[in-house]
Symmetry: D2
Subunit: 297 residues, 4 copies
């Protein structure tokens, strides 16, 4: 009865593709220009999606094309595109499906999101290398070890915060980390880290933002008597819980549910919503635009 | 291919039932006391549901029992129960399935919830009499007329608000209205009306409360870049959008959706969520408890 | 508090757009060819979406472009595209946002989908002209009349089926109907009608297809004890309930729900799912591919 | 920011409760009889829920009461209830919240449901002892080991099936297993096992039953072009995929999703739906009734 498949990850083992994410002021002919650029390289567009915010006059596009018959190297490709981008005042990002991003997962006491990400990763469902688990507690060393990922216990106190922040930054730099995932990490990040990983830190907040910002969202939800609870994955910014939203989910609750029940139901949401956001980011499908995101399907 | 059925409304035409909604401090034997009370009347419990908030030590119950073989009249029944209620310090409400509640619908410019409720009502799906449509605009007179419901145009301005409020109260009193439904009514209700219809005014707010309170929730949702939008049906209280929540729903949105698209998607939510709340209220399934509700299934 | 907006319909009143739906064998440069075609016309692509079924080697695309500065007439435009289409062995369809499709709604006894479509239409949410309501019963004449749509009572019996079918076809032809919507129409359509309106008849089936095909799906669902019920909008084909699926929805049910309750809950699903499918079709976003659909967002 | 809570599991450490699940022909006074029974024991009902299938004339009830002040032992309690049950022709089951059920998990190649259950269990969210992982493959020995659960590799071939089945039965008996969970176990169970664990084997099927029974449901779903995929947790019976359904879930898919993507999306459904069913069973909230279930909230 076994369906066999590895979903979006399969791209890693197939012919590599290039993925262009770009945004610029809208004008006539942008789609044609980009398509023409790819054509002239002998690239075959396997997926392209664009969106125009007609009110704001802004154009967004994601183009993924096969590198199989492309007649130039990757650096050359990037340089050529830079010219087009310049002409059109584009902000852009180029990535390649066979360049596997390096991910560090941060966690505090609650380990369900950590577990879930590691299990998906081992099952071949996350197109990345998980190179470190970082925690302010020792609790999850065993788990990280089971999955063969180095565990870094880095406790934080009021006194050590500034120093520890520097140590974390050094570690991320040494490990050449591309993406930080806050899998229920309960410490506030410093400005230096936020800036160094702008749009590259994904946090899971256990409420349907903007409802129930800040601490104890399930207790807040219980007190308000809502009939649905939610979870929100977003990029971390200086303003806690205000960063660009990548994915959200909700589930039904009732008067029967205690705060503890909400916590329990919420965990399923948190894992699924966080994993969805991480997968979208890893596939180069998320474009940050002001304090919002464009998530291409 | 026609399934035939009228759902919860069928109770109206079957043997009438009594519905007790009650809440009191929790203590041993409450379920037994109430069950015993019904048994001694020769009533048959067709549905009973209880809930204990063990933290707060509060007991909630809904009991519905057939009146077929009940050997006392309705007044006598109520008087007898009052004794038991007294003993246990209960707050309680008794209603009968064949006493059809009288409903007034308030509406402003947007008619989709009005339409939806009237169409459900005509299809025999709302166990009530809709006795009036009240609006601060003339727009929906035709619609009300089509469904055979009197339309009362009662415009409101800063000058006339106080006087009009009195007129509305008189009208509701003359019509012997049991429940007011605010089907996208865009005027703030005065204190007198709120007080006279405490826990008997259902409003639909077009967001997932407590997110996006106040005006223009779809525009707020668009600006924040959420990935889900919602609707909330709640009892109206002095604090706008803070009343006890009865029902909520959400639907997925994306960067492709303009504010106009959110409005469009939200309408389907609003009609469904409002109708669900109205049906629960009409079936005597909603118990208000502080600023929260217990909604028995 | 009124958000103002008309969603997808707004396109009708703005600058008209052309919408190309096309499919062909996949090959390098297709996106570029089409984009280049539009550019040379001086069209501005406002939305483009493509999909490649890499297993089957088939390419699908929807391109919508503004006609504001387009320098040729519509016939000329179509002729020019036909050449490109020929080169690439495309099947294609060209429509214009200001050419309002003409719709006939078929209905039997249950009027909730009819009502819902008419109410949406009046509210400016369906980009079409509803030119006829056709029914084998007299029940909904009043409703059609209220919305200003001619009502055609066309009863069907075993004896009259063949003749009536011809009459229906003539009527649809006289009215120049583009799309037929079966809004809980409980008669089987003849082959001639199916053929004449291939991929232009949308039916709503009250189950989550392929579960519970055929008659009495809610009774079937009740008997099987499922915990979710569904509705499916699909194009009608010779094989009942086997046509290409456009949209589906589900809602939770429990042991408490009688068949009548399922019917009631299902109605909300049916209206929403059918309306979603009709809107997608009217916006030229549905491409039929074998017995499946590609529904562009 | 940490909400603390352990949901339904907390009952294990609090005052123990007794849980009665019962069904019998409907008649007047059943609720009163049972409530009276509990009262006379000096038990306090903390949760009671009943349902009457009025068409079939069958009564269902779940009553949970605190044992804190109960004045008789558990055996005595059961004997006394047996008398009442006899009088009313009840089928019934009595369990105690502090008697922890013993669970064996069966798994084949796909380990996501196994992982998920073990991780929930370690996090204190499953009120059971997981005493064995049984598999026809060696793949998950490490995982079981990490969670401290004995792993039994029991390969099955056409030749060894009958013998292995006996070995499995012996093992389950030696381990005193109460519940078997088929967490994507791809072997057909023999009649002896089905009979020995009637209504105590929970299977997860990776489709929205009754759609896509049998093998390769994701491939079937892909071929049919559905817009939602599902998962179903049910008790195993002789008729594969026909057993009483406990829980179901769905998630949206589109033409963009390959079979591999459906597999990936489906995994999240499978884990969540299976865990929900297992939790309901462990809490004594599932009553099997013919080939359907009553799942009390």
């Amino acid at each position: 009865m076994g369906d066999v498949g590895h979903g979006t990850v399969s791209a890693v083992t197939d012919t590599p593709t290039a993925r262009l994410l770009l945004t610029c002021p809208d004008r006539t002919g942008l789609v044609a220009k980009v398509a023409d650029f790819v054509w002239k390289l002998n690239g075959n567009i396997v997926h392209a999606d664009q969106h125009t915010d007609s009110e704001a006059g802004v154009f967004f596009q994601r183009v993924e094309f096969s590198l199989q018959d492309v007649n130039v190297g990757r650096n050359e490709l990037a340089q050529r595109f830079a010219q087009l981008a310049d002409e059109c005042s584009m902000e852009w990002k180029l990535s390649f499906s066979d360049e596997v991003p390096r991910v560090a997962i941060f966690v505090s006491k609650f380990g369900h999101c950590l577990y879930d990400l590691l299990a998906r990763w081992r099952a071949g469902q996350l197109a990345c290398d998980i190179v470190a688990v970082i925690s302010n507690w020792p609790d999850h060393a065993d788990t990280a070890n089971h999955f063969g990922v180095p565990y870094h216990e880095m406790p934080v106190s009021a006194q050590t915060r500034a120093v520890q922040e520097q140590a974390v930054l050094r570690l991320l730099s040494e490990l050449d980390v591309d993406l930080v995932v806050l899998a229920r990490y309960m410490q506030i990040l410093g400005e230096a880290l936020i800036n160094a990983f702008r749009s590259r830190i994904i946090n899971i907040h256990h409420s349907f933002l903007p409802a129930f910002k800040g601490g104890h969202p399930y207790a807040q939800a219980y007190d308000r008597g809502v009939k649905l609870i939610g979870a929100t994955a977003h990029y971390a910014t200086e303003d806690l819980d205000e960063g660009p939203i990548i994915a959200q989910g909700v589930t039904a609750v009732s008067h029967r549910d205690s705060v503890g029940d909400l916590v329990l139901k919420g965990r399923d949401l948190e894992t699924v919503v966080l994993a969805r956001a991480v997968r979208a980011h890893l596939a180069g499908r998320v474009l940050v635009y002001g304090h919002k995101t464009v998530v291409f399907d």
